[in-house]
Each structure stands twice: as C-alpha cells, then as structure tokens.
Amino acid sequence: MTESKQDEEKFLELLIKYHDDSISEHELDTLKTYLSSSANYIAKFNDFSLLTTNLIHCMSETPRVETAGPTKVIKYESYVLLKLIALAAFIALSLYSASIIISLEQQTESHHQAATYSSKINFLNKDVEWEFGEELITEYHETKNGWYKLLKGEIQLTFSSGAVVNIKGPSLFAIVSPMESYLEYGEVSVYAPESARNFTVKVPTMDIVDLGTKFSIHIDPKDGESNVEVTEGLVDVHFKTSKAKESLFAGAIAKVDSRGDLLSLNNPTAPPELFSHWPFDFYEQNFTPDVSLHQFKAHIVGNTDALMTLGKSGQAFNLNDDQYLDLSQYLNVLPKNNFTLATWVKNPTNMIFSMSDGSKNNRLQFERYQNRLLYGWQKESFFDSVSAFVTWEEDKWHHVAFSLSGGRVSLFMDGKKCAHNVSLGRLNTQILGPSDFNVLDRAYIGILKKGTPSENFKDSIQKLKGQIDDVQIYKSALNEEQIRHLYENPGQVLN
C-alpha cells in the first residue's frame, strides 16, 4: 500500500478510535489492513501507543527527591502495595523507582559525591533495624537526603527548618529537603514550629501541608490505606487524584484509600470567622455599611428611590429593578478557600451572588434557578453546577447559604442542608471556588454580568429581581448547625 497523506490521516483517525474503544468492526478491518500492509504502520501504531502512555504519565504529578539518596531495593511487599494504589500514585512511584534502583557500585560512588543534608538524627531506639547500609546512621549525625527503609524501631529526625519528625518502622520514607519528606508506607508524626510552617509530607495519594501544628500519618503497607490525625493546629491535605484540598483541624481524623478517595472524615468545624455583615438597615450616599469589624461598606448601584423595604430583620433592600451591590473593591480580601455566604431572600428570580471577569468564561454564581438553589462555576470551556430542588414560597423570606471548603460545596435552605459536601458538579468536574481563579475582577450581590448584552446573548446579565436582607460572609465553611443558628436567629452573627 502506498502511503499517501490521506492514508496517514485515515490511519491516525482509526488509531484514535481503536484506543478509544469506539472503532466499528468495519473500521477495525481497515486498521488491520493498514497494519498488515507495511512495517511503517506498525511503527506508527507503536509511536502512538508510546506517546499516549507518555501523555498519561505527563499529566500526573511526579514527586522527586532532589538528591539521589541511598538506594534501597523496594521488595516484594512494596509491589503488592503498588498493585493496590491508584494510577496517579503508581505513576509517581514508578518514576521514583527508577531512581531508587541503583546498584551497589553506584551507591559507593555516591558517597564520594557532595551529599545534601536536611536533617539530623535526634535519637534512635535500641531495636532499630534498617533494610541495609544504614549502620552509618547514628545519633546526632546528619542524615543525607534520599530514601530510607526502617524495618523496626523508632527514630526522631530534626530537620534544619525546625520540623521534628518521628518515624516508626516498618516505614519506607525519603528526606527530600528541609521542608519536605516523602512517606511510601509506615508511620510518621510531625511537629512543625512556626519556622517550619508549610512543612510537607508527601505520600502516594496526597500532600499533607503542616500549617504549624502536630499531626501523624499511618499508611498501611498492605492495602495502602492512609490515616491522618491532627493533634494540634491545622493541616491542609491536597489530594493528588481529585486535586481537591481539605483543611483538617485539631482532632480531625481522615481515612483515605489507596486510590486517594476519602473514606471517612471526622473534622471538627473551624471556628466561624466573620468577614462581612451587611444588614441592609440603611444606606447613605449609595453605600450601605458593613457592621462587622472590617467595615467593608457595599456600593449600591442603581436607583435607590424604592430601595428600602421591610426585611426579615429590620429593613431590607428591594432589588426589583436595576439595583445591585458592588463588592468588587474587596475582591483581593474576600475569602478564597473557605467561604460561606448566608442571606435572606424573598421572591428572588435569579442571581443572589456572583464573581466573574465580566465574561461568561470565568465566573462563580449562587442563585435561584427555577425551583432549585444552585451554585455554579465556569472556567474557560464549560459551565458546571451543583443544585438542589427546593420549595420557593411566594412572599416568604427564605434563608439561603452556600459554603465552600476543600473543593467541596454545601447548599442550605431554611437552616437545612440540601446539598452536602459535594465534590463534583453534574458534569463530573471539580467544584471551583474563588481560589481557582486569578482573573476575577468583580463581585456582586444581586447580579451577574457575563458579557455585553446583544440580540444573540440575551442572558448576558442575570439579576436577583427580588428582596434581600442581611448578607453575611464568613472565612470558614459553616456547618448545618451553624447555618441553622443563623436561620433561627435572623440578624445575628456567629462569633
């Protein structure tokens, strides 16, 4: 068969469909004909397989140890573990493995090279046993960056950042830098003083960032299940597969399976941290005051002639016409990761709160959508959302809220959860919050602007067209109990 450009394109199309498992039997016959006709097509077939497998690897995160360390052979048990961990974790591990498996000769050579030290041993208990070669490790001596396999016993390391790490055998771990270590399996506990804030323990399924606290992690070498416990302070857990982040507070216990899925989480709630509170009881010169300590007064845009109305608590704003509130000047200080907005609305038609760059391509929105309460987001290509069917009664004040934390969102209506801790939208994409955007330049109450109005783009502006009272924003994700308190005590705040 002569290879024309057309043939090449056809062949590539068939290849893509073959790997997509959407090739028809007829198309498969054509593909087979190509492959049988010339070794060149076989080579192209393999080019494609190699490049696409490389792509899969490229798109996963790959932790690296800066300096090649010693040099242990991961044994059979490790590969039983490997079998059980998820694709992303495995890719990271397998890339590691290439650096781990170094011959004894290379190891000897490495002793002659300049080693990097990030920590020293504080103590080793008497029954410490290493996989091999670590007889050189003694108390009060610096430990080289690299991999260590502790078979039994317990050691304590002090990193030059000030972080103190206890490791119990059996553990396979790596010292990466003064601010980073890696645990393949086993048990470590970490104390990070202020100098070691952001000290990170990476494990196959997640990165655990210590924000000045004490925590421990245990990874079962058999099934790869991880158990994270926070004793004091706060840690951030970044899940590698889902890319979600979870903030764990003192007393929190999280169990994560070998694929990186959260099995259970007992996370004491963060203390509520009020960011702003606009009661809408009065306004002056197109500004309404924020009665929180921050005093972020909100700018009223539009006609104020019939703005005031009787509210759920005191007065409220009637945004029935073209009015809305502009919070854009506070964008830089609005909460990013943990965020709750709670408010009262009556007869809302659509938009309660929004953040955007003025186009439809980058936006967050909280709204009434027909008979639902909805939190939605769009970043570049498509819009996704989490929503719950609720009952909107005419002429009745409803308390509505959303809370964001760790890549999850909860929706509340009249003091009850209606969507709880959801991590994916209806299109299976990750929940996005303010921290996922760096282009947002406007934040509004009562409107979303997502483009210039035109004949073909009639919903470029979405408005509340209803009444609103007592908007409160918190720098933490409130739980149902706290939201219920706000619902049962209109006008009050949580402190």
Partner: protein, 172 residues
C-alpha cells in the same frame, strides 16, 4: 540466575515498552497498570526461574499478552487485533531504543504547553481521566467528530514538536 533486584530493575527499565504494549491491547490505562503490576508480582515470586534477562523479557511479554487476552475475553470485546499483528507490534517495540524515554517525558511536558488550553483539557479528559471521546464530547458540549479531530491534530502537533526537540529516535 538473576536476583530480585535485577529482576525489578530490568522490568522497570522495560516499563515504557511493556505499558505501551498492554495499553495497545486492552486500551485502558488503569487495566494496563494492573496487568504490569501483576506481572511484576509474579516475576518476583518466581525469580529462580529466570536464567537471564532475555528469559525474563520473553516471559514478561507472554504474561502481559495472556493477561490482556483474559481481560479482553472477560470484557467481551469484539474489536481486537490478530495474533500475527500483535507479534509484529511486539517485535517493533522490542527493536526500539528506549534510552531517551525519560528525556522525552520532559520534552512532552514542554510540547503540551504549545497546545491550546482547550486541547489540553480534551487530552486530559480522554487520556488521563480515561473518558471515551463520546463522554468528552458530552462534557464539553461538542460533537464527537470534533473531539476525534482535535485529538488527531494534537497528536500531530506533539509529534512535530518532539521531532523539533530532537527526539526522533523514539517518535519517528
């Protein structure tokens, strides 16, 4: 006789080839990883049987192939290649010099940056998230044909980019 350490090193060095081989037969990255890992476990539990690395290489390919066939049967897939073609694919993979694989990985990351964000998103959904093109089309509100075309163009762009970066050894 080769020992455990050498078995592991040999198989890990051979991973790009073996993974690509498994992926081209069962067309599912997760199952390909499983097949590869199962093979390693088997290899480590029967180390005394390998007299040489050549013996191990031949054994690993047979195990991978058989496991892939089992999965194809289990999943009742009708569309698969003939043994004759699989032999040729295996031979071609074996004839390749894979020493630049790691470098190509780095270059591929650079080349990915030359694609548009949307194309990268499509690649991510298709290959990393392992969604079929039909599902990707549904998510992105596009026609399946547009996804196939984008993947085709992306592949060609990446290939040219890698060639430019003097990685012809692996991809030409």
């Amino acid at each position: 006789m080769i020992d455990k350490k050498d078995i592991l090193k040999c198989l890990m060095d051979d991973k790009p080839r073996l993974f690509a081989f498994a992926w081209s037969l069962i067309r599912d990255p997760h199952s390909s990883e499983d097949v590869f890992q199962d093979m390693i476990i088997k290899a480590l539990s029967s180390e005394n049987h390998f007299e040489s690395t050549l013996h191990l290489k031949n054994w690993s390919r047979t195990v991978i192939r058989n496991q892939c066939f089992d999965l194809i049967k289990k999943n009742k897939r009708k569309t698969h290649l003939s043994n004759d073609l699989i032999d040729k694919i295996e031979q071609d993979l074996d004839s390749r010099d894979m020493t630049h694989e790691e470098t190509s990985h780095v270059h591929l990351s650079d080349c990915l940056n030359e694609l548009t964000e949307q194309t990268r998103e499509i690649i991510k959904l298709r290959y990393f998230n392992n969604l079929q093109a039909l599902k990707v089309a549904e998510i992105l509100d596009k026609k399946p044909d547009a996804i196939y075309k984008t993947l085709q163009r992306a592949y060609q762009t990446l290939k040219v980019c890698l060639q430019k970066k003097s990685l012809l050894a692996n991809y030409d």
